[in-house]
Amino acid sequence: MPAKGVQVPHGTDIRIEGVRLALGDDPPMPVLGGVDLHVPAGTVAAIVGPSGCGKSTLLDVVAGLAAPDAGSISGADSVALMPQRDALMPWLTLRANIALGAELASAPRDDVGRRADEAIARLGLTGFADHYPHALSGGMRQRAALARTLLAARPAWLLDEPFGALDALTRTGMHDVLRDLMREVRPTVLLVTHDIAEAVALADRVLVAGPRPMAIVADIDAGDGADPAHAADAVMSALRTAGALA
């Protein structure tokens, strides 16, 4: 179903150059050790790396929630960040949760409800709009979080292990949902995941992150022309070379 009325502006590159950041005091621990990456407008890049290497921190920096010690980021106010798990407000119904996206995008007041209903239909949540999150399955909550991100109407999405909490079957279903949505809306996407198959299935490119302090150590083609099995092998061997596999 076409998402009429759900509009996301096109054409923002995500460009990060030489980003360094140390966290904590005495002594500050370097978490980002000079990260360079470029995601051209409308493409999808996945970041795969060991846990604790600084991926969430990097997304915070790109979203403008944390200031880097050095380096440059372009387009902080054009990204929408979706954290791990669904992060829906338990006290709001699904519709109100989704509408938050439009409210935060300063949509005109009488437009918010209409946009929320469109996104609800688009993500197959009709009939569940008045439920509270705790009454819904993980997959449904994740769809709602995607709908909220969609309504934020930002041209770039930062997805932080969005399906990490789902069972394998639901996760595969959510891959289809996200792929359709991305094909239609054409956002620029930076997707963090620890699932190599997920990265290869969803992304045009897979960026491999080394252990903390984080840097990008490999950039692997996983687009439509690439062989998925071959791309997955390349990701594995890059992780091994970086010493990211225990």
């Binding site: 106010d77 990204v79 960040l81 954290p83 938050l100 935060l104 819904l136």
Partner: protein, 256 residues
């Protein structure tokens, strides 16, 4: 009433029934004078006979307790917000809020009576004795929002201030209500202490007057009424909580 509800209610009555039975047995065995320890039946009889007098005093205590509880809720929640929001307030005010509870507040009653008109003195005492759990629960609640909820909204462009009003405050409500339920019980004690010292009206005053004249059955009846007022306020907060926080109710439908 359905049989199931009856079966859920019965265990609640075990302890009071045992207590009344033990009380009655003590009367039979020790046969104390009625002004020392009246029998349960004597208390019930005296209570029924003096029902108008009891109601006159109960209204007063109930009114003071409700007003004081509303003040505690409003001022306590506001203070909790300021303490949670401002580092300066947390350092400058919060320790003293805690220290203030070390003072036996009952000992302040005579001073308050010295400084304030009786009604105000009783109100202040009831507020002082009930505001603490509201503040502590409020401060804890405001820090309890899951960091992902804040990250999710900040990451969609929400300001820090927006997340306070739309994430931290609603996330604090369940804990705040826990504090309010405690306050509902303490506020009655505060009102009674105030009335004992400063008033000729209210159930606290009635216990003083009746015990002074050896009308002990009436004293007991007043104490029972006080317990009922505390229970009633506690229940009222619980009902308000259910209405205000429909999302904390467990799902009625299996997850799909």
């Amino acid at each position: 009433m359905s049989r199931r509800r009856l079966r859920r209610l019965l265990p609640v009555l075990i302890l009071p029934l045992l207590a009344i039975a033990a009380w009655q047995v003590a009367i039979w065995v020790a046969a104390p004078r009625e002004w020392m320890l009246p029998s349960p039946a004597a208390v019930a009889g005296a209570g029924w006979e003096a029902r108008e007098r009891l109601w006159f005093h109960a209204q007063w205590t109930l009114m003071i307790s409700v007003i004081a509880l509303i003040i505690s809720a409003a001022v306590g929640a506001a203070l909790a917000y300021v303490i949670a929001r401002s580092r300066m307030a947390r350092l400058a005010i919060y320790p003293w809020v805690i220290v203030s509870q070390v003072i036996p507040l009952v000992a302040l009653a005579p001073l308050l009576v010295l400084w304030l008109p009786p009604f105000a003195a009783i109100l202040v005492l009831a507020v002082l004795m009930s505001i603490f759990p509201v503040i502590v629960a409020g401060v804890d609640g405001l820090g309890a929002a899951h960091p992902d909820l804040i990250r999710a909204t900040r990451g969609l462009g929400a300001s820090e201030g927006w997340t306070w009003m739309h994430v931290r405050v609603p996330a604090a409500l369940p804990r705040l209500f826990t504090g309010l339920r405690m306050a509902a019980v303490f506020v009655v004690s505060g009102a009674v202490v105030g009335e004992l010292v400063a008033s000729d009206r209210g159930l606290g005053a009635l216990t003083r007057l009746s015990a002074g004249q050896f009308e002990t059955p009436l004293t007991f009846a007043a104490v029972v009424l006080l317990a009922l007022i505390g229970l009633g306020l506690f229940g009222a907060i619980a009902v308000a909580e259910r209405l205000a926080l429909p999302w904390t109710r467990r799902p009625t439908r299996p997850r799909s």
